[in-house]
């Protein structure tokens, strides 16, 4: 195994190519642009196609078209640009097309957008939130696998910190050439004139001689599939949870800072643990709920750099078993491209200690 030093953007693009990604289209927007540039370098030299789209809407629909042929395809932007892609993401979900969407976000204010979405219909998107470059590369491979397995859009929620951090990653991981599942649904034009030519349409009405299930049965099928995903694909990471009286929940790169602080507080004797949803959707509600109901747990603290978005999912999971308190807040730096002063170990330490002392009183 050869290790190389790579910036996060390059690590993600390399992992995508390694996972068989053959198509990427996107529109420049900071801090996503680094990933657009990385795909521009990586894909053409690996027999892939890269297109600079002229709007986010165009890029997402190009990727949808490529995905409809069975090719592993992706698009991306920041949350502000992904806002423009919501209709397309929903369309991919209802058409059961695997589509990977990279959100190199400007911070943590895209949790609602990522987990609730703004498109039409009964759909969900699997959402992965890596905390590091290494994890981002792993999640990139996983995103393409999950998209194909469940025929759904998958969003990877990264940020500037992942994009601009250099770290050692595997240069040529073993997955290269990994087989993809059969895609009997993919369009290639060849079924015309057979009496059973394919049609991709969110209403799934099929054709005159080969009728489909129709919209209601199809949409119920899609909803049932998301129920299955919710019970099988929830992932999380945790530290020091066995006897934790205070559980700090955070996501993405913020989690790395929280882990650092909690490790330090543990060494000082505080019974604190961390819980980080790796999948923002499906949120690992069952695990967190069990944790909150376990004997030692006295409270759950939520550190997220927004006005309170993930805390809704935490409260649903905890379901009143113990108090849930927000210790994060809106925090953007002056460039507007990244998290602000609340992403700081001293601040996080102060806020955790204040909350644990508050719980003791």
């Amino acid at each position: 195994m050869t290790l190389v030093l790579r910036e996060g953007y390059d690590a993600i693009a390399a992992a995508a190519v390694d996972a068989g990604c053959r198509f990427f289209a996107g529109y420049p927007m900071l801090p996503f642009t680094g990933l657009l540039d990385a795909f521009a370098r990586e894909l053409p030299r690996n027999d892939g196609v890269w297109i600079q789209a002229d709007t986010e809407i165009e890029g997402a629909n190009m990727a949808l078209g490529a995905a409809a042929t069975g090719a592993r395809a992706a698009t991306g932007s920041t949350g502000q640009g992904i806002a423009l892609m919501q209709e397309t993401i929903a369309e991919a979900a209802l058409n059961e097309l695997p589509l990977v969407v990279f959100n190199m976000a400007r911070g943590q204010q895209d949790y609602f957008q990522t987990t609730r979405g703004g498109g039409w219909g009964d759909y969900r998107t699997i959402a992965l939130a890596p905390a590091s470059v290494v994890e981002a590369a792993e999640h990139t491979r996983l995103a393409f696998e999950l998209a194909d397995r469940w025929l759904t859009p998958v969003i990877l929620y990264g940020d500037h910190m992942i994009g601009f951090t250099q770290t050692t990653v595997e240069a040529a991981p073993d997955h290269r050439g990994a087989t993809e599942p059969d895609k009997p649904w993919a369009l290639d034009g060849s079924t015309g004139g057979t009496g059973a030519s394919k049609v991709v349409w969110t209403w799934r009405q099929g054709k005159h001689n080969t009728p489909g299930p129709g919209p209601n049965r199809h949409w119920q099928h899609v909803a049932d599939k998301y129920d299955q995903i919710a019970t099988t694909e929830a992932r999380h990471a945790g530290r020091h949870l066995d006897d934790a009286e205070h559980v700090v929940v955070s996501f993405g790169t913020t989690g790395a800072f929280v882990d650092y602080v909690v490790d330090e507080l543990r060494r000082e004797g505080h019974r604190i643990g961390t819980f980080r949803p790796v999948t923002l959707w499906p949120f690992p509600s069952v695990t967190l709920g069990d944790l909150a109901r376990s004997a030692p747990c006295r409270q759950v603290l939520v550190h997220e750099l927004n006005a309170g978005q993930m805390i809704d999912d935490v409260r649903i999971a905890v379901n009143g078993a113990v108090p849930v308190h927000a210790i994060g807040g809106v925090s953007q730096d002056e460039s507007g491209m990244r998290q602000g002063e609340l992403l700081d170990v001293d601040t996080i330490r102060e806020r955790i200690l204040a909350a644990t002392e508050g719980a003791r009183r």
Binding site: F23, N61, E87, L187, G195, N209
Partner: protein
């Protein structure tokens, strides 16, 4: 039914076997079914039935995806040229085309078609232009001609109130990336025959890798235009063709 020379048969005699049903929900006097038939006929002639994919927008014409036995993807309103781009790049040896209305292409999807043309994308875009949003009840589009009656321009489109229509085919014809652009009609037999030739040329230019191709087909919508069914064709000739002239706007340079 067989014909020695397919270009000489009467249009009225022909119902392509690829249509699984000849029933449709389109209004009396609508031009779309003729355009559907021409499309399918040309796919057969060029032996593209089993190596083509149509990306279809939102409009009355969308129903073709349930009756014609060729592959289709029904996409979001206006986005067909972008979807077709992704497909074509992954399947470069297939004929990839869009089927859109003027509402779909000129109102909602102007950016997609212009950028695809500017890139010289090797796809064929077909626009059925009747100057109204027929499927939603006959509202004005960005291609409604000045003076044309629609539900949202009952006294006719007014330059002062509504501005002017966007001649997307003429705009695209000026792009270096466009290999073939034509505007046809389906209101009478010689126009139909010419339009079929335009479609053949457009697909042939795509297969030859010459660049982007677009065929706009003027279609009658007497319902949307609030004229008697049998006057649709004449209304089109008087009202629409005076703005949108027929013919090859950019012929293939290699023919």
């Amino acid at each position: 039914m067989t014909h020695a020379d397919p270009t000489m048969r009467k249009v009225a005699d022909f119902a392509p076997a690829l249509f699984q049903s000849t029933e449709h929900h389109l209004c009396s006097g609508c031009g779309h079914p003729v355009a559907w038939r021409l499309l399918i006929e040309v796919l057969e002639e060029l032996q593209l039935v089993d190596r083509s994919i149509g990306v279809v927008g939102h409009g009355c014409y969308t129903q073709i995806i349930t009756t014609a036995d060729v592959e289709f993807l029904q996409c979001l309103h206006g986005r067909a040229p972008a979807v077709a781009t992704g497909m074509k790049r992954m399947l470069p040896d297939r004929a990839i085309y869009t089927l859109q209305g003027d509402g779909d292409m000129v109102s909602e999807g102007l950016a997609e078609v212009l950028h695809a043309a500017a890139r010289g994308e090797s796809i064929t875009c077909l626009m059925l232009d009747n100057g109204v949003f027929g499927d939603t009840g006959g509202q004005m589009t960005a291609a409604t001609t000045v003076g044309q009656r629609t539900k949202t321009s009952l006294d006719g489109r007014s330059e002062q109130e509504h501005g002017y229509p966007i001649p997307v085919a003429d705009i695209v014809a000026s792009f270096p990336g466009a290999a073939y652009v034509a505007r046809g009609a389906v209101d009478k037999p010689n126009a139909i025959a010419r339009t079929r030739r335009y479609l053949r040329e457009a697909f042939a230019s795509q297969l030859a890798g010459e660049g982007f191709s677009l065929v706009e087909i003027l279609t009658m919508c007497p319902t949307g235009w609030a004229v008697p069914t049998d006057q649709g064709a004449q209304y089109q000739r008087d009202q629409v063709e005076s703005t949108f002239g027929l013919g090859e706007l950019r012929p293939r340079s290699t023919t």
